[in-house]
Amino acid sequence: MNSSDKQFEQRARALYQEAAQSVDPVTAGRLRAARRTALEAASAHASPHHRARVLVPVGALAAIALAALVIWQRAPQPQPEHNQQASVASEQQDSEYLPPEAEKTDPGLYQNLDFYSWLAANDSSQTKR
């Protein structure tokens, strides 16, 4: 860049700077007001009050949702009727194949266990005939 170009740039810049300094008072006032508005808007956006206005409703909604979830999970779950019938039948069927409990059974059963075994074997052979 030669000195002529440099001088040209300096002159242009000087004029620009002076034009910026000599902005009319009304425009300068409006620019100051615009700056204040921008700074106030940003500080209001970041203030604790603004955060509280956002966070309180969000927190309340979250608490309500959590409470509803807990209540829903604790409530007794209604089971379909056919499921209940099926489970009763299944229990009966299981008890037929399980050995009788020793405490509830007549002690005579265990004393004459050979006899009852023979009886059961004979009875089943007769049924087959």
Binding site: L15, A19, A20, S22, D24, A42
Partner: protein
């Protein structure tokens, strides 16, 4: 030209890398008038220029206040540049709509010039005195293509370095140099009397 000389002494002979104001308030206070002049050079209208500057201030404070102070300058000029381009596009759309509605032609059917808002602000010529007026320069700068105008204002008038200008313009440093070179060539031709 005493005023111009004073500004020249104060601004142009100051050492490079002047300290950026520490607070956003001080930063914006140091920029607002120059930003207004820059927007005015692009838009040619005081009200639009004020809108663009206010919007740029708001966006800078809202989105970039946490950034280091050294980054504020290119960020601010970049935001202002985009806002100016946006306003220019709106004007273009408005001109097209006016044309569609039949407002773009006069009684003889001849096409009217594109809509431009009236410049209601006091002209720089009224405020400045001197052999080479700001009005002459502003008129020549307004004739530049958009990107050349941006490069000239940011690089020469604002004194941003090439890297900062590239960030503000959203282009490469090579493009900045190309645009600036063409702008300078155009301005030298149109401001020959300055030499």
């Amino acid at each position: 030209m005493n005023g111009v000389s004073a500004v020249f002494e104060a601004e142009l002979l100051a050492p490079d890398g002047q300290a950026v104001p520490a607070t956003l308030d001080a930063f914006l206070a140091s920029m607002e008038r120059r930003a207004f002049r820059m927007a005015e050079l692009h838009l040619g209208n005081r009200e639009d220029a004020l809108d663009a500057v206010q919007d740029a201030m708001l966006r800078l404070v809202k989105h970039y206040r946490a950034k280091p102070a050294q980054e504020w300058t290119p960020l601010f000029w970049g935001i202002l540049r985009r806002r100016i381009v946006d306003l220019q596009r709106r004007r273009k759309v408005r001109s097209i709509v006016v044309g569609w509605l039949g407002g773009g032609r006069d009684d003889d059917g001849d096409e009217l010039p594109a809509w431009e808002p009236a410049d209601t602000g006091p002209g720089p010529l009224e405020k400045l005195h001197g052999e080479q007026s700001y009005a002459d320069m502003a008129a020549a700068v307004k004739q530049l293509p958009q990107r050349q105008r941006e490069a000239f204002i940011l690089r020469v008038l604002e004194g941003l370095d090439v890297a900062e200008t590239a960030v503000a313009m959203g282009c490469s440093e090579g493009s900045v140099k190309t645009h600036l070179s063409r702008a300078m060539q155009h301005l030298r031709e149109h401001l020959e009397e300055w030499r």
